[in-house]
Symmetry: C2
Subunit: 267 residues, 2 copies
């Protein structure tokens, strides 16, 4: 396997797990019976596994536990060598506010929290739809389906519960081209869907995207880093109205703006 | 290189061409000086090279010519072994209407035309934006950036000038996952952007997408084939209002509906 390979191969371990009749979620194995009640409630419309606020601590803890927790999958939202200076700078800006030190010298959570990100939220969901075993075992999250670092979607999300805000630092790789030298409108829509869905999940629990309304203002050069900022507009019953702006890194240039209507049921 | 590899590697030939100061468009080499007048006018906002109606014949002819035309890149809209029966059936349905036989036994164009599709519209566009040579040489169209057939976006578009209609047969591969077992909302948005942009280009000439408004009605199972149907709503000056429905193959189930506002200038 070359470093450029997509994530669709080399799944022998996955196939073995499937044969054992197990579901794998973020490295944790659970029995199929618990899927509907325990796991399905935590999947966003964009397929990202969204843990409730309270469980982020447990994810951190899991990483140091022995088997089966030692088989933690790669967290794609951590810095890698493909990240440019803009991406790293913004990452540090928000990440430094995730943990603060008290006067007593103790560390505690800050106002922001970084969200881990994996390439598959749930490996072997069957639901009510027939999917071939090949598709089940090879499926990968759309935004994390290219192995080569920096080639496609490089992004990290931070949420601020207090301000009901979510930001995403996004570096657009060379495989996301639309107009020559610029990012495809569909790739921008993909990031907006991901961020609005994630944000709404934190505000309202599990949701499905019902509507996206996107205004493209100015094209985004391929290879550049942009900031997606998502905020809550209003909540009406099961509907959560959110808005999202895509700007350059200092916020002085608006590339795209959108509204999203993630709903707890598709309207 | 494995068959699963993305299109970001092995570009030595491309790098050689770049060093020679040439632009390559669909296998044809043109001097940089002719870029603005001849080529730029034919690029859609989604980055697909859209030839005027009259030039499709010449593309067909090019394929049988000797060098440099013998280096024609792969046309991704032709059937391959990953296409399922639904995809093949719909392809045949529309493709059989692309060429009809007259009473005199001569062949002539039918009402539909299949659009060829490549993985890069224009290799070395620089425009007014600085892009590193690495990005320029490795960039690939977002919807055609995975080498493995059937893994991501398999699609073919047909246009009907007479009815001002465009259809796209789309088979969603396992690397497009959003919600477990279903297609990512961003991947659906990507296809809608591609089809509405292509359609508007045929109706109004080169455009940039200014707005997309998407309503998600029911999720699309991973691996399934759907039909995108795009029609003209109205034209107002430089704006072309189009609508697009994503349905199952017989049109009985609506998955997504959208309106697009491709404009000859970003509004």
């Amino acid at each position: 396997m070359t470093p450029h390979e997509s994530y669709s191969t080399g799944e022998t371990r996955g196939a073995q797990q499937m044969a054992r009749g197990l579901c794998q979620v973020m490295g944790r194995e659970i029995s199929k019976g618990s899927f509907n009640t325990n796991i399905r409630q935590k999947i966003t419309p964009s397929g990202t596994l969204q843990l409730p606020w309270s469980s982020i601590n447990s994810v951190r803890t899991m990483a140091v536990l022995p088997w089966p927790f030692s088989s933690q999958p790669r967290d794609f939202s951590l810095p890698n060598s493909s990240w440019g200076s803009d991406m790293r700078h913004l990452y540090e800006h928000y990440n430094s506010q995730c943990e603060v030190e008290t006067e007593e010298g103790e560390k505690k959570w800050g106002v922001w929290r970084r969200l881990p990100s994996y390439n598959r939220s749930l490996k072997y969901a069957t639901g009510g739809v027939y999917l071939s075993k090949i598709i089940q075992s090879k499926a990968r999250l759309f935004t994390r389906n290219i192995r080569e670092q920096g080639a496609a979607f490089e992004y990290v999300m931070f949420v601020n519960k207090q301000e009901q805000k979510c930001v995403c630092v996004f570096q657009a790789g060379h495989l996301l081209e639309g107009p020559p030298g610029h990012v495809h409108g569909g790739a921008i829509a993909t990031m907006i869907d991901t961020v609005t869905g994630t944000h709404a999940t934190y505000l309202s629990g599990p949701v499905m995207t019902a509507n996206l309304n996107i205004n493209y203002r100015s094209p985004i050069p391929l290879g550049s880093t942009v900031l997606l900022t998502c905020s809550l507009d209003k909540k009406e019953g099961r509907k959560t109205f959110v808005s999202c702006q895509v700007t350059n890194t200092d916020g002085s240039k608006l590339h795209t703006e959108a509204t999203g209507l993630p709903s707890s049921a598709v309207v």
